[in-house]
């Protein structure tokens, strides 16, 4: 059993035409469910002049109006309290409350039934099995076990797989490292920011070389990073472990995963989710590989508060090839490339913070932390990059390489400020390194 490559060998290798048929039938099922159980969804579709019977083919799906996070904010805090009209089950069937992290605005509440919570761990099971988690793993999960969904379902999925799970909440970073060492944990789950932070603390504050600990695999989620090659390499070199990416969201579910083949991208779990890519400017659905767009996603089996054609604002693109792992689930190339609200134009040039991260972390003489600040002087955009020099590295040895790589990879010139190692803010969970002050008129 443990040698089986796929969590579900039938679904994960279903021929593409059958997968599409599965997605369509499941989309119809969840659409019918939402239409008949949610006043919000019914009104949304009827305003667009649609009922579920109007969706007769896969191509019709795009007629269904999208849901934006702002719409969810608008209907919540009302009866059935606090979820409002999007709730599809009696309140007494809601067993779990979570809320979004609030990094993009007012948090959105997320109810789940016990079936939905099982579904969460089922989707994470696809993730972890693909990344090599097996019953002989001891998985240490160093997060706060709080109101954000984060790694809760990863915890339950690891248990489902038969792993031994060590909850690392409450402990501070040094205590967590000592516990990993004490218990010979083989795997951890954390944000890329925290993976690097733990390595930094272990090495520079505790005299413990992370690569000599027993960790052989790390699952990253919560922010892009594990699919940015230089960030992945930093993490893998620091820990002597394989690092795998996963992308999920409170209001969506655990929708994608990198497999052990590390294909420079992530599989979409197309048996449980329908992903569409929409051109940011025209709204046209992008089918072909190589064109970036915004992800519109449907969770095909989530019942308490369905996620149907949710405009996630994540920017992705399809890979042209299927993965050598044998899964028929398509890959999104390079993982989640950024946020549509972060990818912006500076001096007329499209800027992706991920591209800057790739450059900074590819230079050994620079620390892990950096900041990007965009502002305006008069009518002219300016962009400042703050970086840290590693101890005993001089600015003069790094500056030209950094400027050249930034120019090459982003087509922009930067005001660069160099700081001593340890000067820039450290983040414990998710980092917010990109600041566009033009939007705040500061």
């Amino acid at each position: 059993m443990n040698h089986q490559k796929y969590w579900n060998p039938v679904l994960e290798t279903l021929p593409r035409e059958k997968l599409k048929l599965l997605q369509f039938k499941k989309f119809k099922r969840i659409l019918n469910w939402a239409y008949t159980h949610s006043k919000f969804h019914k009104a949304l579709y009827e305003t667009a002049g649609l009922t579920p019977d109007d969706i007769c083919s896969f191509d019709d799906i795009k007629k269904i109006p999208k849901v934006e996070k702002s719409m969810m904010r608008g209907i919540q805090n009302k009866d059935p309290f606090p979820y409002g009209d999007a709730l599809c089950v009696p309140l007494e069937e809601v067993s779990t409350f979570r809320q979004t992290s609030g990094t993009t605005g007012q948090p959105v509440y997320q109810p789940d039934t016990w079936q939905d919570w099982e579904w969460w761990s089922e989707c994470w099971s696809f993730v972890l099995w693909a990344q090599g988690y097996r019953p002989n793993d001891r998985v240490f999960i160093p997060f706060g076990y709080n109101i954000f969904v984060a790694f809760w379902a990863g915890h339950y999925a690891a248990e489902k797989l038969g792993c031994e799970v060590v909850p690392g909440g409450v402990l501070d970073t040094q205590s967590r490292i000592l516990k990993i060492q004490e218990l010979n944990a083989s795997a951890i789950m954390a944000t890329p920011t925290y993976v690097l932070r733990m390595a930094d603390v272990a090495k520079n504050k505790m005299g413990i070389e992370p690569s000599e600990l027993s960790i052989n695999k790390i699952t990253c989620a919560g922010e892009p990073g594990a699919s940015i090659p230089s960030t992945k390499k930093r993490m893998e070199d620091a820990w002597g472990a394989k690092v795998y990416d996963h992308s999920g969201a409170t209001e969506i579910g655990a929708w994608s995963y990198e497999c052990r083949n590390q294909p420079c991208g992530m599989h979409v779990n197309e048996a449980m989710f329908l992903v569409e890519i929409e051109d940011i400017d025209t709204g046209e659905i992008i089918e072909e590989a190589g064109r970036k767009g915004k992800m519109v996603i449907t969770a095909l089996d989530r019942v308490a508060q369905p996620c149907i054609r949710f405009d996630s604002k994540d920017v992705i693109e399809w890979d042209s090839e299927l993965c050598s792992c044998g899964r028929s689930f398509r890959l999104i190339k390079g993982g989640v490339l950024g946020r549509a609200d972060d990818i912006t134009k500076v001096k007329g040039v499209l800027l992706s913070p991920a591209a800057i991260e790739e450059v900074v972390r590819s230079i050994d003489g620079l620390g892990d932390e950096f900041e990007i600040i965009v502002d305006k002087q008069g009518d002219v955009d300016r962009i400042k990059l703050k970086v840290e020099l590693m101890p005993e590295v001089t600015r003069v040895s790094i500056e030209n390489q950094l400027k050249d790589q930034l120019r090459l990879k982003t087509n922009l010139g930067y005001r660069i400020e160099f700081y001593d190692y340890g000067s820039l803010p450290r983040y414990e969970v998710k980092a917010k390194r990109f600041k566009d002050l033009r939007k705040t008129n500061i």
């Binding site: 039938v10 679904l11 059958k18 016990w114 099982e118 579904w119």
Partner: protein, 63 residues
């Protein structure tokens, strides 16, 4: 590999277990332990349905 799983046969068993759990749940009105545990078991059965029964219901198994 896929066909040696015998999805149709597995699905028949899933449906039988589900039917039994539905009956247990309906028997359980004055017995909280039976009621709540049956409900939880039905949620786990739903995961079996998503993994196997949908393949059969939507006629996606290899012929």
């Amino acid at each position: 590999m896929k066909n040696c799983l015998g999805v149709n046969g597995v699905n028949d068993k899933i449906l039988k277990v589900k039917q039994l759990l539905v009956e247990l749940e309906s028997d359980a009105k004055q017995f909280p332990a039976l009621d709540r545990n049956s409900k939880r078991a039905l949620a786990s059965i739903k995961m079996l349905e998503l993994n196997i029964s949908d393949i059969v219901a939507f006629d996606l198994a290899d012929s």
